[in-house]
Symmetry: C2
Subunit: 235 residues, 2 copies
């Protein structure tokens, strides 16, 4: 299985997919690949616009994208895909559309068969067992919270350490502590902005300048970085 | 109907229920009231501890609380309540427990009959038609997103204007823009910390030093404060 799970599309002051673009190109390999793009996380902009924006960045990296909304049979498009790319936006809308189009099974099977999967933000969240570590507002109700289950742990994308000054709402760490209290068997990885997980051949590593913060009920949070082997999370 | 819907329990550097305590006392009136407390939003601390903490603050304000978890028949406890108080925490756990205990109907009927309702944070969110404007992590899946529907609009508690510096995730305003895109018929009120809505006799006003930010699809966001009549949101 080949996964590239990216925390966020854009770092402040950088271009769209800036920090991940070179890694995306390398991950997809030297042969030109036309990836299948899933744009369903878009809420306030169109799927066409989303496709154009992503296509530009993928072409610069030596590859291409076509969005799934151009196909009359989306599941068939998945079965024929060379690679699957899931963009960020609203996780709730994304999983609702994935489920309504009955794509959970086809995407999972196809990625388990070996084609590359790239996701960022909401697109990384749906690679997890469920979407229950999303940061997004539940603007719409999906038929289930279950997602592609490509990895056995939960990612919290856009992980951040502090609230804005003077804000009293729960910190992200407090929110994840609630999650592990209710779900004591699951590991959760807080994936800070500017970083990504690379999974291949049963191994996982972090890429990027910030460590991931790893949580499980009964454990002190662990900080792991580029030098560490994170493969235990795949067990 | 009498509602006091509070954004957050605690401002930075202030005691628990600090800024709202005097208003809670006044809202419940001069006669001593033993309120029924719903502690289900607690995830990482016990219902007993939550009750003790809230009881102390209510007693200082001239009233008392007893938590619903002491009753073998929670719906019957609601039907006999003099006032209902719903504390903050995790909105998903709160609505799950409310629904599992079949309290949506009983609480709604009781509050429509005239007894006071006080909620803060998650407790304000469940006064809305649904919980779809929560900020919380969906650590558990409720049977439905529908809530008490005491008001016809959505509150976003802990509303804040900015992300921490250098963080690229969606701002709260962007999240609410997604909500109104998907739910164009609903008004959403961003209720900033340190403020609350007071509803009585079909009128609504804001109490506190910061304005509320009001959103609806097709409208520019509106800022309304203590001097403004917010009753149109109840229509």
């Amino acid at each position: 299985m080949k996964l590239l799970l990216i925390s966020n599309s854009t770092n402040p002051g950088e271009p769209y997919l800036g920090y991940s673009q070179a890694m995306i190109g390398e991950f997809l390999g030297k042969k030109h690949i036309k990836t299948l793009f899933i744009p369903y996380a878009a809420v306030t902009f169109s799927w066409d616009d989303y496709e154009l924006k992503v296509r530009e960045k993928f072409r610069e990296a030596g590859h291409d994208v076509i969005s799934i909304h151009h196909f009359t049979d989306p599941a068939e498009a998945v079965r024929k895909a060379q690679a699957i790319v899931v963009g960020g936006g609203n996780t709730w809308m994304l999983i609702k559309m994935i489920r309504d189009n009955k794509l959970v099974g086809p995407v999972r099977e196809k990625v388990l068969s070996g084609i590359p999967y790239i996701g960022w933000s909401a697109g990384s969240n749906v690679a997890c067992p469920t979407i229950r570590t999303t940061n997004d507002m539940p603007v719409i109700r999906p038929s289930s919270f279950r997602a592609f289950n490509l990895i056995p742990f939960q990612i919290n994308p856009h992980y951040l350490d502090a609230n804005p000054e003077g804000h009293a709402g729960e910190t992200r760490e407090q929110r994840i502590e609630e999650f592990i209290e209710v779900n004591p068997d699951l590991w959760v990885a807080g994936l800070r902005e500017g970083t990504m997980f690379h999974v291949e051949d049963g191994k996982m590593r972090l890429i990027g300048p910030r460590k991931a913060r790893i949580f499980k009920k009964g454990h002190e949070p662990i900080e792991l970085g580029e030098a560490d082997d994170l493969s235990f999370l795949l067990k």
